[in-house]
Structure formats: C-alpha cells, structure tokens
C-alpha cells in the first residue's frame, strides 16, 4: 500500500503513530510497505486462501471467539451462519477439492469460442434449504452476478404484467435456520468442516510462512476484533490477479464477518483501486458485463428476451434489489429518452446484449483470429499487456486502430518499433493496420469527476488549456457520437433504432465555453438523474426513482450526487471541524446516498445500541437512526420491526438485518449463489505452479479460464524447466505500462532500469551478481533485466522442499526516456471465471545469468 497508494497510506501511518495501531503486511516480498509494518508475513505468491483459511480455522477453534458473546451475537443476527443449506450440497471435503454441481462447460463455442472455461458449476445444490433452485445448466458467459439468480421459469412473465408482480414472484420464503448453530447443514458447521484442514502446519506447508509469524498474525487479528476493537483489511491486485482472485477477497470477507468487522468503523475489507477513478469506471461501467450501478449487462445467453424476463432473472424479491425495475427503467430512459415508452418496454430491445466473455483477454484472442475489425484504444497500452506478443499479434490483424494517449505509447508504435519488428521477424510492410494517433489532453486540462477508492466522487476543474490540437476524451467521444448518429440518422434498419434513439444532448449551454465539446455537468446530471421532461428538477436520491418512466437516471448508485442544478456535491470541500468525530460528509460525495461505511447498521447491536462507546457509528435514538454517517438502513425502521412475511424488498427484512442488498438481509459466510467457482473459498494452486496442491487432489480451480493458443502455452506442475515462482508488481516511482512515468526524467532517474528481485540464495545458486544481466523465461516468452539481489526476497521452505520466489516490476517498454523489456511477454492468458481477471501475480519461470 505504501508503494502503490502512498497518499492513502498516510492514514494507516497516522493510525500507527497517533493511536499505536498494529500494521500487518502479507506479501511474498519485503516491500516499502512491510518496512512500515509491525509484522510482515511472507507467503508464496498465490497462496492467500491457504493463509486466510488458516486464520479462519484459528478463529473458529480459538477459545476467545467461542466464548466472547459479541461474536456469537453478531454471527447469529448479522450473518447466515445459522442458515441451513440444501441436502444435496457436497463440499470439498467429500469431493476432494471441488463442490457438488461440477460439470463440463457447455458454452456457445460456435459463434464466440472465447469464454475459456475449463469447466463450470451448476449451483443448484448450493442453495439454502427450501429456496427454489437455480435453473439447471444455464450456460454463462462469465458474467459476475451481483446477486443470485433465482428463478421461476421466466416464460411466465407476460408483457402486461406489472413490474411489481414480477418482483413479487421472486420472493423467497425466509430460509430455515438453526439458532443453536449445531445443525450439521447450518453454515457454521459447514465452515468448520470446510476449514478443518487449514491448520498452521498446513499453512506453513502451502504458503511457506514461518508458523510463528502466522500465529502472531492470527493472535493480533483476533485480539484486535470484537466489541471494542475492529480490524480492517486492505487489498489490491495482489489478491485479485489470480484464477481465484474473487475467492481470496471472499475468504477475507468471510473472516471479517466471523470477527464482526463488517459495517463498523475501522473495519471492513477495503479495495485499493487502481488508476485514479478506476472505481468510477466500474460504477459507470467500462466493464462489458454490467451496465450502470452493477446491474448485469443484458445477455443473449440468459433469459433476457424481454425487460420483464431480464428483471425476473436478475432482480430479487427480498432486499434492496427489489427496486431494480425503477433502476433499469430510469436507466433506459437515460439511454433513449422520449423514445423509451412503457409500450416499447422503454427501448429494452434496442439495448445491445453480450454474447459471451468480451473482456480484455478474449477480445485480443478474437483479434488474433482476425475476428476484430478495428479498435479504439483510449487510455490503455495493450501492446505491453498480458502475453504481450500475442496481444500485439492480435493488433497486427486489425484493419484500423485509433490510439488516444498523452504519449506516443508502445500501442501506437508497435507496428514499426516493437521487438518483433526491430528483430525482423515481422515486417511493418506486412501489417495492414491503419493506425491513427490522437494526442490527448491531460486530466488537469479538462473538467470532470473522479471516483476514488472510497466510492467518493470528487469534482476537478480545468487547470490549463491542452497544448495545440489536443482534446480531452469527452470531446472526442461526444463528437464521435454526434457523427455516428448523423451517419445512422436515415437508417431504416430495426437494429439501428438504438443508436438513432440514443440521447446525446450534452451540448453546453454556452457552446463557446467548450468549443465542440460536451458539458460534463450535463453528463453527471444524466447519470445522477432528473425528472423526465424537466432536466432542471434533479433527483434527491434513489428513493425517488420510478419504474413508469417519470424519472431519468443512468446510475441508481450515483442518484443524489447532483440533487439540484446549483448543488454539485462532488465539488464540496468541507471537512469536519478538527477534533470532532465524523465521516466528513461534506467532503465530496460517496455513493450510495453519501454513505461512507456500507451496511453501517451493523455498527449497532441488534437492539440498535452502539456495540461500544469507542466504536459507535450509527445508532437508533428511539425514533430514528442517527450517527456520524448516513445510516445504511430505512431511517425510521425500528430495531424491533418484524420482517413482513409477505413484504417486498426491505419490508421482507426485520429491523435487525443490516445487509440490505442481500435477499435474506444478512452477511453471507456461505454464498448460495453469485459466484461461479464455489460457495466457499478453497485453496487451489495457480494455473502454473512448481508444487502440487497440498490440500486437495484438485490442483487448480476446476472452472478457471484458459485460452488454448500456440502462443499461450503453460508449464505443467513441477516442470523442471521453469522451477521458480515469479510475481509482477509496481514501483512507487513508475506508473503501470510506464507511459505516464517513463517519459518523465524526474521519475526515470529514480528507477531507470527494469530489474528482477531475487534472493542472495538463488543468486548464488545461479552465479548471478547484483546488477548482472539476467534472462527470464516462461513458456510464453523470454526477456532480460538487471538483477537486484536482496534479502527482501526469500526462498520459501514448503515441507521438505525449497521454492524460490522472484519478482519483477512491469513498467517498462520500448518507448520513453528509459526503456526496457516488456515483462508481460512472460505472462499467460488465464483468468478467473467470475470476472476474467488474469493471473499476473503467480506463475513460473526460469532465470539464467546473461
């Protein structure tokens, strides 16, 4: 975190210096972050689930956790620990590392053979007992489902049926529970069985973390959780870039729920997002598989034929998602405006549908097969991205490529300056692609909003004019839209209705202010919502959204960010007065509804009293919920309000159920649905590993994504040609593929050359000296780097054998003030099943001097 989020790291350091907070760092390497922490727990890359599973096992068997009433009270009321799971469910204990429902993947190989699943699960048997099972064998394009798909054969929804009755049809009976937590099929007992194997010895065997260090972490975390104290976990791509990335995070969330650390101040599990505003780019999605506000994208692979079927498939009867009709309809109104009417399902049919996994890796594979005509490459540098030479092979088959960037990146020069061209294996003359390069305005040269890792929108103003002809991306996108609409204006084709009806009215009121550009405030207005027909009447919040078309709002989660034309809340900069406790609610605006801690109802005990004075955040004052933060709960719903058996949405929850997005209103230790790779986190080895899975017969995730391709070979387990575990990461001094840092001499002098970090032990074995040139090889590629020999790297002792871990920053390329080989020549196109994230954090390689 110190390395990649130095400014955010200010707060952990403040906590350490001013409140003696304990900091722990779990990382294969000893980094600048480790240097600041009280404990550094080194683990072999890719083994966090074993480590976290070990913590869970430690907690479940600890004397304190089993005796302290706080944990039991939190667990019983706020999690699904007591819920019974279906009789058919079989876990990894019985099935040697896989769950019931595993089957061969039946995807749509024909027209989009890039979904990559090596297998797939049918999650029917993971359901709560008594809940209607999911549709069997429904093929999935790899979408992340933000909530379980419950079911009712959708055919039953009729066009006339009201949205409410569709939602009503989705209600589930309250799940069966065993308050004694003794029932063998209750979640807690399943957990106990599932994590039984994750003993400290096993943790050491798998991760290589010294047992005493592991135990120190376990004791510290447990000691710092409970009524009076909370523990927070922060993670970033060290946890995500794995074929089981989401499961790692789920595993931590599980631990945090067990420890009562969710929904409370100083608790939670915090994603440290990437690029400034990458949070915004997933909220207002650049993700192919969701539309605004984490609603699943309309898919040709699911029963999404009509709006009602979409709702029937994706909405929920219980919990906040029951409001999905309001969200979707308001979204469609933002897309198609007046053309969207109840009669035409608000233009639902015009909306594009996905036909498979269209995420980064599959698209470049399709490109390599000549299936992609052109690409708009805006603010990305794929020429240095995963399995880079394969991705460049794809780019060489494009007919046209538009690159918009502040710098002449590798992606703009790959056709004349890439290694393969310079080495002569590829001739520029043979590349048909027509490449257009647009120099782009920098962020400070444009106005707009950032959404930071805290879900907080912050408005930024234009500081300077861009040089020469540079234009910002908004200008470009707006102009592109105008031109496309003009192009399609006369088209009689049904399929062009969408673009013809697309609302594209961002013309600034004073056009001279932004010549030819769009008004960013008008865009935020459309995202945050207004009353259809009167754009001057903005919306106060999601509660105002309607499913009759009377509200227009692209993103329900941003609704309320811009409540009135003169109230641009993201621009507000009012911190709380010094020495007062608070959430700084007037500094920027955080979704949803300016809440800073989500599910914060859990910061009070079931009866609504703060768990403790130290940890008070929101509480019930007898009439309503009050506190430092915006309560994430119906304001006047008293703690002893009963759940209405026939109620819809939040009415289906009692006053004691904080997890308002969940159909059953509690935190999920066990995921009956929503994940494609199992209801519980399970340790698998990375796609490439030098060792067998010590925990199960199953070596890797049975449903991971691997794309067969001559240029995408992977090493088999324990391949002697590639004996070392390698991970890739960032340096504070550089930024990602490097365009933003390798052109700046003030930064490049700080970290001029590409290097590989390795332990003195391995260096000695290999006769490699500090700053010697080293060649690094994987089945995909071979590159050179300087050696940085340091004890910050260590050999891992796994049982009777030693595994060496090396690491490389990946910021280099062939353009810029300093240049170096592209580390992604080494990586493979393998991904996780839920979100298709690559496995750039753990694979195998060989290193030789030279």
């Amino acid at each position: 975190m110190a390395e990649c989020h130095p400014v955010a790291f200010r707060w952990p350091m403040k906590a350490k210096v001013e409140h003696d907070a304990k900091l722990i760092h779990v990382d294969p390497r000893f980094t600048r972050t480790s240097a600041m922490c009280d404990i550094h727990a080194p683990i072999r890359a890719g083994t966090d689930i074993a480590f976290l599973g070990g913590l869970i096992n430690y907690v479940l068997n600890s004397e304190r956790w089993n005796s302290d009433p706080f944990f039991r009270e939190y667990l019983l009321n706020y999690t699904n620990a007591a819920t019974l799971v279906s009789r058919e469910f079989r876990g990894t204990e019985e099935l040697e590392g896989v769950f019931s429902g595993l089957m061969e993947y039946k995807g749509n190989e024909a027209d989009w053979p890039y979904d990559g699943f090596v297998g797939s699960y049918q999650s029917t048997t993971w359901q709560y007992e008594g809940w209607r099972p999911e549709e069997p064998g429904e093929p999935r394009g790899g979408e992340e489902l933000s909530q379980p798909t419950r079911v009712e054969p959708q055919a039953r929804t009729s066009p006339q049926e009201s949205f409410e009755s569709v939602i009503r049809s989705l209600r589930q009976p309250p799940p069966r529970r065993d308050e004694t937590l003794q029932h063998p099929r209750c979640v807690l007992q399943i957990l106990r069985r599932h994590f039984r194997r994750y003993t400290p010895e096993m943790v050491e065997q798998v991760t290589g973390c010294p047992p005493e260090t592991f135990l120190r972490v376990a004791e510290t975390v447990l000691a710092n959780s409970g009524r009076e104290r909370t523990t927070a976990w922060a993670y970033a791509v060290g946890w995500t870039q794995h074929t089981y990335g989401p499961q790692m995070i789920g595993c931590c969330a599980l631990l945090q729920l067990l420890l009562g650390n969710i929904g409370r101040p100083g608790g939670g599990i915090l994603a440290l997002r990437g690029h400034a505003s990458i949070q915004g780019s997933t909220d207002v999605p650049t993700l192919y598989h969701s539309i605004h506000g984490y609603m699943p994208a309309m898919s040709a692979l699911k029963s999404h034929e009509t709006l009602r079927q979409y709702l029937a498939t994706e909405a929920l009867g219980g919990g906040y998602w029951a409001n999905m009709p309001q969200f979707v309809v308001s979204y469609l109104k933002s897309m198609y405006g007046d053309a969207a009417t109840p009669e035409n399902d608000f233009g639902y049919d015009w909306h594009p549908k996905i036909t498979g996994d269209h995420s980064h890796m599959p698209v470049f594979l399709a490109m390599a097969d000549g299936r992609v005509k052109g690409m708009l490459c805006i603010g990305q540098n794929p020429a240095t991205s995963l399995n880079a030479s394969l991705e460049r092979a794809g780019m060489r088959r494009l007919e046209w490529l538009v690159v918009r960037d502040n710098f002449l990146t590798e992606s703009a020069t790959y056709w004349y300056n890439s290694p393969e061209v310079r080495e002569g294996t590829v001739s520029a003359a043979d590349i048909p692609t027509e490449v257009f390069f647009f120099p782009t305005a920098q962020v400070a040269e444009s106005e707009g909003s950032f959404t930071n890792t805290q879900r907080m929108l912050q408005w930024h103003f234009k500081a300077a004019d861009p040089p020469g002809q540079c234009r910002d991306d908004l200008w470009f996108t707006y102009q592109l839209g105008l031109r496309l609409k003009r192009l399609y204006a006369g088209s009689p084709l049904e399929r062009d209705q969408g673009i013809r009806n697309l609302v594209w009215d961002y013309e600034p009121d004073h056009p001279e202010s932004i010549p030819g550009g769009a008004d960013p405030r008008k865009i935020l207005r459309e995202i945050a919502g207004y009353r259809t027909g009167d754009p001057s009447r903005h919306l106060e919040g999601p509660h105002e959204l309607r499913d009759d078309g009377s509200t227009t709002c692209a993103s329900w989660i941003y609704c309320g960010a811009f409540p009135a034309p003169d109230e641009l809340l993201p621009a507000s900069r009012e911190p709380d007065p010094p020495d007062t406790i608070g959430a700084h609610l007037r500094w920027g605006w955080a979704w949803p509804a300016n809440r800073r801690v989500i599910y914060n109802r859990a910061s009070a005990d079931p009866s609504g009293r703060p768990w403790s004075e130290r940890k008070r955040w929101v509480w019930w004052d007898g009439k309503e919920w009050v506190g430092y933060d915006i309560p994430d709960f119906p304001n006047r719903k008293s703690p002893d309000a009963p759940a209405e058996p026939r109620g819809l949405g939040l009415d289906a929850h009692s006053g004691r159920q904080p997890f308002i997005l969940k159909p059953d209103g509690v935190g999920w230790l066990f995921n009956p649905a929503g994940l494609l790779d199992g209801p519980l986190p399970t340790h698998y080895e990375p796609m490439e590993s030098p060792v067998r899975n010590a925990l199960y017969k199953q070596q890797t995730s049975p449903v991971l994504k691997y794309w067969k391709h001559a240029a995408n070979q992977t090493a088999v387990v324990g391949d002697e040609r590639f004996p070392y575990v390698i991970t890739t990461y960032r340096l504070t001094e550089h930024y990602l593929a490097g365009a933003m840092s390798r052109w700046n001499p003030w930064l490049t002098e700080l970290m001029p050359e590409l290097f590989i970090e390795l332990s003195p032990e391995l260096a000695a074995e290999k006769g490699i000296g500090n700053t010697d040139w080293v060649r690094i090889e994987t089945p995909r590629g071979s590159i050179r780097a300087k050696a940085l020999v340091t004890r910050r790297m260590r050999p891992f002792r796994l049982g009777d054998r030693v595994v060496h871990q090396v690491g490389m920053p990946w910021h280099w390329g062939w353009e810029g003030v300093v240049t170096g080989d592209v580390v992604n020549e080494l990586t493979a196109l393998v991904g996780d099943p839920n979100v298709s994230i690559h496995e750039g954090k753990a694979f195998v390689c060989n290193v030789e001097k030279g």
Binding site: A2, E3, P6, V7, F9, R10, M13, K16, V17, D20, F30, R32, T33, S34, A35, M36, H40, P42, L731, T732, E733, N744, P745, W746, L747, T748, E749, L750, M751, P752, E753, F755, N770, T771, K786, A787, L788, V789, T790, R791, R792, R794, V817, V818
Partner: protein
C-alpha cells in the same frame, strides 16, 4: 531575525516514496541525473545516491535483514541540507555568496557564487555540489522563496506520511521529543534525535529522528567546523617558515665562513 524555522524528519514513518525528491526538483526546476537515463545502482532502491547540485533531497535506503530473515528492517531517510546553526559552508565561503536568512536557514546566492567549491569540501555532511545548469554550487534553500511567500517547503508539503515536518524549530523539537518518548514506550529503545540540540555544530535546523547509529544513515557522528584546524595548521606552518628561512640563511653564512677559512673566493669545487 524572525523565528528559526526548519525540518524535523521522523525517519520511522518514511515510506521511501521519494515524493520529496521529486517535489523539490519540480519546484526548483532541477535537471535529472543523466537526463533521467542512467544505470541502476543496485544499491537497494536508491538510484540517485547522494545529495548534489541537482539533488537537493535524497532518500536513503538501508536494508538490514539478517540471513535467517528474522526481524528485518528497511530503514529509509530523506536527507537534505541541515541548515546548521554553525554552518561550515557559510563559514568558509570566500565570496560571501552563502548567507544566513531571517529564518535562520543557510542559503547560497547563486548569482554571487563563483564556483570555487570550497563550501563543498567544508560541509560536514557532503550536502553541496555544483549544479551544471548554473555552474555554481547549489543545495537546498529550505525553499527560501516559498517561505518568503508564507508557503511551506515543497518537499514537506508533498510528504504523504509527514515524515518531513516543517515549522518553528522550537515546536519541531517538542514534537520530536514526544515521538521519541512514544517510541521508547513502545519498546523501540534505539530511537533518538540527531541534531536537535547544540551538540552537533550548534544544532541542526533540519534534524532527524533515527533508530540506529548515525553512520548507518551516512551521517557523521561528531561533525566539526573547518575552522577547527585553522590555528594549529597556521602556527605549525609559520614555525616551518621560520625554520626554512633560518636554514637558508644559516647555509649561506656557513658558506661564507668556509670561504673565509679557505682564504679566497674559490668554492669547494675549485
């Protein structure tokens, strides 16, 4: 003179992000070493390596990790001109280019410096060197220009963890002493302040909280002023001068004697 201002640098919270180095370069528009392209040093994460005319801040990285990897430490420290109360550089500058400001900081006036480089050799901390851009000796000015405008120095402003704190030196000392107490209470007995009192060249207006010997951070244990050698060296040399003169004259006198003895002007060789 206005209140003495300066830095208190708590090295225990330095994350080695080098924001201070870059902020300094950006504010003072200093060129990059080797135009930004020079070989990596292999000396931990330190590639700028020392303070000089174009690096007025320098972050040091000291890896202390035993072979068995138990209890490893990676010390980081952002080094800078110490703005000594008794400044060797200022003491020797033969052109008067180096001055003490109203903030009790030490500043080189680049337009007065003629590049004799004596200050480089005089600074006990190896802070100064020539900036090829101006071809004069340069170093941290403690952002004299910003201070005159009531602004905090660029480096401390950029420091995300407040490892570099800026303010009235008296306040800084209080803050630092409190931090040392806290660290001792937490069991970090090695924590101490370097240059907070007069012991080190009359006190440093940029002093440090360290957790190891000064030498470990590349700092002199007991830095001194150049002038300490002035008197002894001069006297000894003067004595030598007298001796030599006498020797020369004595030699001649002896000569003449011998000649008289020999009776005529004929030299020995005659």
């Amino acid at each position: 003179m206005a209140e003495a201002m300066g830095f208190y640098t708590d090295t225990t919270v330095c994350i080695g992000c080098k924001a201070c180095e870059v902020a300094c370069k950006s504010w003072n528009q200093l060129p990059a070493g080797g135009g930004g392209d020079w070989p990596m040093t292999g000396d931990s994460y330190d590639n700028t390596r020392r303070l000089d005319g174009i690096h007025w801040r320098h972050v040091k990285f000291i890896e202390q990790i035993p072979e068995d990897r138990s209890e490893g430490r990676w010390l980081m420290m952002s080094d800078v001109c110490k703005h000594c109360v008794q400044a060797g550089c200022l003491e020797v500058c033969p052109t008067g280019a180096i001055i003490r400001t109203e903030f009790d900081t030490v500043v080189i006036q680049s337009d007065a410096c003629n590049g004799c480089r004596l200050c480089i050799a005089a600074c006990p901390f190896g802070v100064i060197d020539i900036n090829p851009a101006s071809n004069t000796a340069q170093k941290c000015t403690l952002c004299y220009d910003r201070m005159q405008a009531g602004l905090e120095p660029a480096c401390s402003k950029a420091c995300p963890t407040d490892s570099i704190r800026f303010g009235p030196i008296a306040e800084m000392r209080k803050m630092a002493e409190a931090r040392v107490q806290q660290l001792h209470a937490l069991g970090e007995k090695r924590a101490y302040l370097y240059g907070a009192d007069e012991k080190i060249v009359g006190g440093l207006n940029s002093f440090y909280l360290l957790v190891d010997e000064p030498e470990v951070y590349g700092l002199p244990r007991d830095p001194k002023l150049p002038s300490r050698n002035l008197l002894p060296s001069s006297l000894i040399s003067a004595a030598g001068a007298v001796l030599l003169s006498l020797l020369a004259l004595a030699g001649l006198r002896k000569q003449r004697m011998d000649e008289r003895a020999a009776g005529d002007g004929a030299g020995p060789d005659a």
